[in-house]
């Protein structure tokens, strides 16, 4: 019985994990049709920002919840100004340029921090669940993810920013008709997307440890979740695919091992893309956000 609860919590954690690391990519992809292959490195940068701030004596919570998204958002802004804005409408070129960017960022972080694994202390102790000892921080991540998605939904639904965003998602001209330069909308979107990635990286840092190359581990999962989710409905699509992939990969992990979990998840992604070439949201959530 306790074990069932443990399994369910781990599944929830995996779903949250995927949803959390996918959020930034989903926003950028959903609104700009830009697939940012440096997304994993933005997450990684969030982690290193947290680490650097924490080492500098800044409060850990403040570092991961506020500073990490700020710093990575700024990096995103710079990247958008220097690279991405020249490539709008050229999807494959954007993918290539951001891929180059990801290598570049890995190199820079390696130069600064070295390529050894480093860690941020875990600020929440474990707790007892029946006979089992559980990571308290995992609960925090589940909570943060839920809060993040509710927040995103509220912003999209009830604010002027959200209105513009929803307009841009359907058609870039709508933003223009509302009196906003689409280029500005893109710039802001990319910055917000980067900030969300940095947020995810900051929050996850205490749990996973940091390597310059650890972005690669995030990109595959979030890439697949977002693309499978589809561009039609950022929140519901990404959530749906996170739930699907998170649950399945964790169930398979429990049944056999983590490797098979990954492989089953990837295989499933191929099947889904074949069956639903416009993603889950293209099929089921046509008119929501």
């Amino acid at each position: 019985m306790d074990y069932a609860a443990v399994v369910i919590l781990e599944i929830l954690y995996m779903i949250s994990f995927i949803a959390l690391v996918s959020a930034g990519l989903a926003v950028v992809f959903g609104m700009m049709r830009v697939i940012n292959l440096a997304h994993g490195e933005f997450v990684m940068l969030g982690g290193y920002t947290t680490l650097a701030c924490q080492r500098a004596g800044i409060d850990l919570w403040f570092s991961m919840l506020i500073l990490a998204p700020l710093v990575v958002g700024l990096v995103g802004l710079i990247v958008e100004r220097l690279v991405i804005r020249f490539l709008y409408g050229r999807m494959i070129d954007t993918m290539l340029a951001t891929w180059g960017l990801s290598l570049l960022l890995i190199g820079i972080v390696t130069l600064i921090f070295g390529s050894s694994a480093v860690n941020v202390p875990t600020p929440i102790p474990g707790y007892q669940l029946g006979a089992y000892q559980m990571g308290g921080y995992n609960l925090f991540i589940i909570g943060v993810t839920v809060a993040l998605y509710i927040g995103m939904w509220l912003v999209l639904r009830y604010t002027r920013l959200g209105l513009i965003a929803r307009g841009a998602m359907q058609n870039a001209d709508i933003a223009a008709s509302l009196g906003y330069n689409p280029r500005t909308v893109y710039m802001v979107t990319f910055t917000i997307g980067a900030a969300l990635s940095g947020f995810a990286g900051g929050v996850l840092a205490p749990l996973t440890g940091l390597l310059p190359a650890s972005g690669g581990g995030y990109i595959a999962q979030s890439f697949i979740a977002v693309i499978t989710g589809g561009a039609g409905a950022v929140i519901s699509g990404t959530l749906a695919s996170s739930v699907l992939f998170g649950a399945i990969s964790q169930i398979v992990s429990f049944a056999s091992g983590p490797v098979l979990g990954d492989i089953v998840m990837l295989g499933l992604a191929i099947v889904l893309l074949r069956l639903m070439p416009t993603g889950i949201s293209g099929r089921f959530f046509r008119n929501s956000q």
């Binding site: 050894s116 694994a117 480093v118 650890s214 983590p258």
Partner: protein
């Protein structure tokens, strides 16, 4: 197209310059003894490789300062393999065929060793592997100065089973080191009539151990042995501590500390992990203290010194001793010298090469992590590589070229 061809010629021209530079350099200093090394100085294994590269540099400098070998200077040719196996084979061939070095010290993971060992054997280049590993390599051309399971794994099992009980969970890295070490673990545990509740393998890029930790709790063993390797696997120790398991089920490891993992974990997270190995910076021997002082003078920071850096350092000294004894750099004579028994004293104690297996008998410490330090619980002097010795006798079968595994 015309221009692109010119481009091509330009590139190949550069190539010619670079390759001829290499051979000209080697020729001009033809009297130097050439010591090659292939180690991961960058990439995700550089936590192991960087200090080994430094140790190589330091050992060669010290030997040269003491007059070199056979009256000749030693020149180190070190290549960075960037944690990429393909570069190992490339540079191994370069060392053996182009640079024509007299000896090679290198390789970190067992995967990298197996990628290059045969190259050196074919090229008749003496090869030293100076890293703890899963044991069993029986190759006359290859000298091993790192620990094997009989030396560093059995003491853990012995100590932990006596102290905590006989139900064990094994977690191991999913490549030959982890696979074979897990077999030895199972062998030693069964020998002491213990039970292995489960054995799980993890590819080097796995960083999420949530389901694993839950499964371990379900199995509720008396203790856990972790033979995990590399940066991503560090996450296990963190997640283990984050869930509070470090207070509940004792944890031991065959690899912890080798990459200075104890420094990356906070005291609260790392304390209590039991390991066994050849080296602790805390060892109060004069040899170790002097070694650390020299390191500090040369590189500044001694924090990063770990067991396999010391192993590499000792390996080079053992080879130097071999050359002195042989009086020549001819491979056969050096091997004869190895087989006559070589003994040196290094920072980690006495290293004596066993003529039958070309492995080293070493001093082994049982250690516990306390406040980011590897505190020595007890020490066994000159523990022999008895695992490999079960199968391997190079004096009798000099042409043996196999890696033996324990049968369970």
């Amino acid at each position: 197209m015309r221009v692109s061809r010119r481009d091509f010629l330009g590139a190949t021209g550069a190539l010619a310059v670079s390759s001829s530079l290499g051979s000209v350099g080697a020729f001009a200093q033809g009297k130097d003894i050439l010591l090659g090394s292939v180690l991961d100085n960058s990439g995700n294994l550089d936590i192991y490789g960087k200090p080994m590269v430094m140790a190589t540099t330091m050992a060669v400098e010290e030997l040269n300062a003491a007059g070199g070998l056979l009256g000749r200077k030693i020149k180190a040719i070190q290549y960075d393999t960037q944690s990429d196996i393909a570069l190992y084979t490339k540079f191994a061939q370069q060392l053996a065929r182009t640079d024509k070095v007299d000896v090679v010290h290198g390789g970190i993971t067992s995967a990298s060793r197996e990628a290059i060992r045969q190259t050196f054997k074919r090229a008749n280049t003496l090869y030293f592997y100076n890293v703890l590993y899963e044991g069993g390599v029986c190759d006359r051309n290859c000298v091993v100065t790192g620990t094997t399971p009989a030396q560093a794994v059995e003491p853990i099992v012995e100590y932990a089973m006596k102290k905590w009980g006989n139900k064990v969970v094994i977690l191991a890295a999913d490549y030959n080191y982890g696979q074979i070490t897990a077999k030895w673990l199972q062998h030693y545990i069964k020998e002491r009539s213990g039970t292995v509740a489960s054995t799980d393998f993890f590819p080097l890029d796995v960083a999420d151990f949530g389901s694993t930790i839950a499964k371990i709790q379900q199995a509720s063993p008396n203790f856990v042995v972790a033979a995990l390797v590399g940066g991503a696997h560090m996450a296990f120790f963190r997640q283990w501590a984050a869930s509070g398991m470090n207070k509940k089920i004792p944890l031991t490891s065959t690899t912890f500390g080798v990459g200075n993992e104890h420094l990356a974990l906070s005291p609260a997270e790392g304390d209590g992990i039991v390991i066994a190995g050849n080296y602790s910076q805390e060892a109060q021997t004069p040899a170790n203290q002097e070694f650390l002082a020299r390191w500090k003078k040369r590189f500044g920071d001694t924090k990063i010194v770990h067991e396999i850096a010391v192993s590499q350092y000792q390996g080079i000294y053992a080879w130097a001793e071999t050359v002195k004894k042989a009086g020549t750099l001819e491979r056969e004579a050096m091997l004869k010298a190895v087989e006559s028994g070589i003994t040196i004293t290094g920072p980690a104690g006495t290293v004596s090469i066993d003529p039958k297996t070309h492995h080293a008998a070493l001093d082994i410490h049982l250690m516990e992590v306390k406040n980011q330090k590897l505190t020595i619980i007890n020490t066994v002097k000159q523990r022999p590589p008895s695992d490999t010795a079960q199968f391997c006798d190079l004096l009798k079968n000099p042409n043996d070229n196999k890696q033996y595994e324990v049968k369970i």
